[in-house]
Symmetry: C2
Subunit: 199 residues, 2 copies
DNA sequence: TATTAGAATGAACACTCGTTCATAAACTAA
DNA sequence: TTAGTTTATGAACGAGTGTTCATTCTAATA
């Protein structure tokens, strides 16, 4: 078994440090020590600290909810909309609960306002994915008379805001809630939401 | 008119830098230059950089929603619950939209996961204020049969999550939405919410 | 086995960091 | 005015920052 390339380990450890101390707070030397090499060796793989950061951003930008979660199997369940929402939400949580995603959202929340961040990332951009999918879903449901008539943009945000708070606070936060608790909270939200919008 | 004390100006400028670059990214020298003094003079007023940060935290910890927003005049409007929620939300937004609060929430979002932050602050703690007030409000409404029976904890979060997202993204974010737009978004949320819970 | 490209090293660079300290200036109270 | 206190200064500190570079090691290719 070939072991992971140094470049990947650097990215891995960099994400770990960035997620704990922020971009400015983490140092090349700390990252290098975690990888098990000297700091100068880092520059055989990346041109600068910023390039490491941007490489991480790029890595996560390429993972979209639609790619990772929405598939035919799930879409087949659209005939039972409430169940569809529950399965969709559960998969969302599983996806967000992966170690990488947990760290990434922390970096995002920390760096969204800084110079290095604001030019390249924006929290809206990363939310857009979930939002646009919600708009699609609820737009379709609305058209088919499954749910009441609403502004789909508002609907999408009403559904997504709670989940986003759940993500940043409960999933990626420091208080380690068991995953079942998080499932429960999400399900209660879907219940509340569905009860509000169903035709 | 006596001019502001140096100590207050230091806090003011420190908040500004922290909100733009984070705690680790902002330096004593930058802050000192903004104040118009040398960095060594800072230490006549604060023992360390960390003490400045903690002083800022303390300052904002003492401002609670209940103190700043909830007063008798507002509570008198509880007879018209929907209107009460709208006025309450509008005041919340006005409060969150003050320059100081806009900067503070940024610092909070940035530092919530860092070492210096996590030992002293937590995003939950600062949300608790709004949450507990919501629980109180909705608990009372539920008891009086004004709204349907719900788990008040869930209700509180359903109401607060959207507003929190509005705050971090639209009010304190970099895209400068006109305040009227924000009012509109909030009112649409209250409409949706009220429509879902009213008896 | 000899050659070569990629990766790691350790020392060094110029800089910035937070903090300290003796000293000087500015303000207050007697 | 004088004495005393607070505040500001500028230089210095040790440590840490990101980055460079000549050199050595390693592993695959010829």
């Amino acid at each position: 078994m070939k072991r992971k390339s140094t470049k990947k380990i650097i990215l891995e450890k960099a994400l770990e440090h960035f997620s704990k101390q922020g971009y400015a707070g983490a140092s090349i030397r700390q990252i290098a020590r975690s990888v098990g090499i000297r700091e100068s060796a880092i520059y055989n793989h990346f041109e600068s600290k910023e390039e490491i950061f941007l490489a991480l951003l790029y890595q996560f930008k390429s993972q979209t909810i639609s790619k990772e979660i929405l598939n035919d199997e799930l879409l087949d369940q659209l005939s039972n909309p409430e169940n569809f929402l529950k399965v969709f939400t559960r998969r969302l949580i599983d996806f967000w609960n992966t170690p990488q995603e947990r760290k990434f959202i922390r970096v995002l929340l920390m760096e969204q306002f800084t110079k290095i961040g604001s030019s390249e990332i924006s929290i809206s951009e990363y939310l857009t994915d979930l939002r646009s999918i919600c708009k699609l879903i609820f737009g379709e449901m609305s058209k088919n008379g499954i749910i009441k008539k609403f502004d789909t943009v508002v609907l999408a945000d009403e559904f997504a805001a709670f989940l986003f708070l759940l993500r940043s606070e409960k999933i990626s936060g420091d208080e380690k809630l068991p995953i079942t608790k998080i499932y429960d909270l999400a399900e209660m939200h879907v219940d509340f939401f569905w009860n509000s919008v169903k035709a």
